[in-house]
């Protein structure tokens, strides 16, 4: 009788391991560079160090919700209605909600230093909070019962409506009078007024968080695939048992 240990294949692949390693290196630099090596800001002083995590987490939240919208559109348009798109949409929204929460928290603490308050009903903050709640609702709808295709149909409609909030949030500082500063790096005139090391740390942070996002979405959509497979096999077993009972 064989005594070989049972082996199983997990959710990691060589590609995701590479993403993970790249993310660790980049985020390690953000931690060291953001806290120690980068200079103080002339106006904000040390408070500017919050920027190195606040801006990338906000970027990832935007990216995640855009990916959710695009994947949902692909599910809807595709003839096969592939559940792979739906899982990417769901995984991306999960990650986006976590990063949006971190953005709101870091922004709130940054606001306490620079504005003297944790929260104001400012256009940027309010629209961001609204978007956060919308995607929590999206995840709640995904958790409702039904088959995977029913879940995909319901959630894709919500995702395509919710993604419209992203330009509203991004341009809220331009459209309305806002305490929140306007875009520094993505300013329309292309003139970035920032020290070189600060800009490098910020952009490297954006890169590191983006790679982390790819790692998280890859893993989470595979977890969803396994959950769907388990649900399908459990359903098959239940149907077979009912048939057996009916025949008996």
């Amino acid at each position: 009788m064989s005594t070989e240990a049972q082996t199983f294949k997990g959710v990691g692949t060589p590609a995701t391991r590479m993403y993970g390693l790249m993310a660790i290196v980049a985020l390690g630099w953000v931690l060291l560079g953001g806290l120690i090596f980068t200079p103080e800001d002339a106006v904000q002083g040390d408070a500017v160090r919050i920027m190195y995590v606040h801006v990338p987490t906000a970027w990832i939240a935007y990216l995640a919700f855009i990916v959710t919208g695009v994947a949902s559109a692909c599910w809807m348009i595709g003839r096969k209605h592939s559940l792979g798109f739906d899982r990417v949409a769901g995984a991306s929204a999960e990650v986006g909600v976590v990063f949006m929460a971190m953005t709101l928290l870091s922004g709130s603490l940054w606001g306490r230093i620079t504005w003297g308050t944790f929260w104001v009903w400012d256009p940027r903050l309010t629209t961001t909070a609204f978007m956060f709640v919308t995607y929590i609702g999206y995840l709640a709808v995904r958790g409702l019962g039904g088959t995977a295709q029913q879940r995909a149909r319901r959630s894709s409609v919500i995702a395509l409506l919710a993604v419209l909030e992203i330009p509203l949030v991004h341009f809220s500082v331009v459209m309305w009078r806002s305490l929140h500063q306007r875009a520094t790096v993505l300013s329309p005139d292309g003139d970035i007024k920032m020290d070189g090391l600060m800009l490098f740390t910020l952009l490297f942070g954006v890169f590191g968080f983006s790679v982390l996002f790819a790692w998280l979405v890859s893993h989470r959509q595979r977890i969803m695939a396994m959950q769907d497979a388990r649900q399908t096999s459990a359903l098959d077993v239940a149907v077979a048992e009912r048939l057996k009972e009916a025949q008996a």
């Binding site: 040390d46 940054w110 388990r230």
Partner: protein, 44 residues
């Protein structure tokens, strides 16, 4: 460092959540992998 408490709190929350989410994801993936056949894992 001025406002060190706020700055360290931001970094602590952000990196703590990231590490926690990564560990949770890896554990959840490993546990589910044991219960699902390899044919249902097209990435392998």
């Amino acid at each position: 460092m001025n406002h060190a408490g706020f700055i360290i709190a931001v970094y602590g929350i952000t990196f703590g959540v990231i590490v926690g989410l990564a560990i949770y994801t890896i554990r959840q993936g490993r546990n589910l992998s044991r219960t699902v056949a390899d044919k249902d894992k097209p990435w392998t």
